[in-house]
Symmetry: C2
Subunit: 270 residues, 2 copies
DNA sequence: CTTCGCCCTGTAGTCAAACTACAGTTCCCG
DNA sequence: CGGGAACTGTAGTTTGACTACAGGGCGAAG
């Protein structure tokens, strides 16, 4: 994806003919990777060396190299180009953009995440006598999801979205218990209160939140997700899929330390 | 990734020289995409036409086409290879595999999904006077998520996971109302009952489920997700991220038809 | 308004990479 | 042991990618 972004950037201070090339690539990248240099140059209405010069400007060795990088970018970043949903997009386009954005965030998170913290969090949760998941709003849904996943592992686990309830529950925890606190801001006062209570009671606190937030500071282990400059446009809670995936990884990591696990098929399908 | 999988498959009933090619590719795919045909053939210790024949056997047009597909597969499939989580994986590896699996499912779904159905579903929901989201278990969480997302659009929306509650609620619906039913099996009897009630009451039914299921048959519009031969290993509910992404796309599609929408920032952060 | 100079674009030619047709070898089966 | 078929390599052809160079447009300065 970096390549298309760079192209978009450079497009403006590029001159006429080279812009024709840029537009054609941005317009239909998929087509470009299939064509030969000659075919593409003809379609753009420019000569072959012009196209090559354009590739060089982007840091590529030549046309084949450019095609290769483009292909890689498209495969990883998706086909429809880049995020921003606009009025007038039909449902198919919206879907493509939403999926692309989700995939992009997953990829970025995968690279940015701190493996050591994750490892420690997994160990803590695997050793916990009891797990409580706290979260509000969108993160409340993630907490519920975490609850369902840990259920299967035979760990006593609950999820609370009610500030009063988790405040009370947190105060009753004991050393050896663990709280999984989820917050996209890391600043919700109610959540911070319960987190503090849990720590005071001797419980461990695993937080899924952003780096540098008060919640992260409070946690025994903080799993920090990059504060994704949330994809532009009306994309509320896009990061929920990232949180869910992290919870998934945690649950599976815990499962591996607690084998044999409870079989997945319960006869109850949803 | 499909390409490397096919290579692995075919490797066994391939003959000597062609296997040398296959081994070299599987051993270091990244190297292959950089080299020219001649260089690669020399490194493999075979002649150029042999390599080409190998590419043809995999369904590619020739060496450049093979390189291209390989590059795309590597970029999309990620670095860590392919899914299956195993005992002994540390947290970082588990995370990578889980994320890869999620990304793969998103990519497959994006391509497989029926844009027309999605478009129709978006129109129905945008026109609905009232939306009710039904789902049990894992899908109950998706229903909750849908509720939160539609909230912001100013549509009256509720989510029920209790079979008795949604059975009653469905019976009270009127033409112009819409139900969003989510089920990964499409066979939950309670959900089917309420779906039927809703239809009988004149409401529209949008279903997110698998193709060919009873729920899909019942729906006004069925958004069918490929019955992903759910990634092997203990990966419960991996498809939840896919469902969430679909709900996201629906909500955004509806938002585009209902502009101006309620601002995202409410001062309430989670 | 004209003229000089630079940057940009296209043309033609070269080189290498990819592919095809064919012939030799090897291995299996009769 | 001999014949045939499949597989592998060699040589030749074609096409695609790239380079060197020449022509033209645009701005700046006189």
């Amino acid at each position: 994806m970096l390549l298309l972004e760079r192209l978009e950037d450079l497009k403006h201070h590029l001159s006429r003919c080279e812009r024709k090339v840029a537009d054609l690539v941005l317009g239909d990248p998929q087509a470009a990777i299939r064509e030969s240099l000659a075919a593409f140059a003809a379609r753009a209405g420019v000569s072959e060396p012009t196209v090559i010069r354009c590739c060089r400007a982007l840091g590529c060795i030549g046309w084949p190299d450019f095609k290769l990088r483009l292909a890689q970018g498209l495969a990883s970043g998706g086909g429809s180009g880049h995020s921003a949903v606009q009025a007038g997009d039909d449902a198919g386009v919206v879907l493509a953009k939403v999926f692309d954005a989700a995939i992009l965030m997953l990829q970025r998170t995968r690279q940015a995440i701190d493996a050591a913290a994750l490892e420690q969090a997994t160990r803590l949760l695997a050793a916990a006598r009891r797990i409580e998941c706290y979260g509000h709003g969108a993160s409340g849904i993630v907490a519920l999801d975490a609850q369902q996943k840990f259920y299967r592992l035979g760990v006593p686990v609950v999820a609370y979205s009610d500030a009063h309830v988790h405040a009370m529950s947190a105060a009753l925890l004991k050393p050896g218990d663990a709280v999984l606190a989820i917050s996209q801001s890391g600043r919700s006062p109610e959540l911070l209160g319960s987190a503090q209570r849990a720590r005071a009671a001797g419980a461990d606190l695993v937080a899924i939140t952003v780096a540098g937030s008060p919640l992260a500071a409070l946690a025994t282990v903080a799993i920090t997700v990059p504060a994704v400059a949330a994809a532009p446009g009306p994309l509320p809670g896009g990061s929920r899929v990232v949180d869910l995936a992290i919870v998934d990884a945690l649950a599976i990591g815990v499962a591996l330390r607690r084998t044999p696990l409870i079989p997945e098929s319960t006869g109850l399908e949803t």
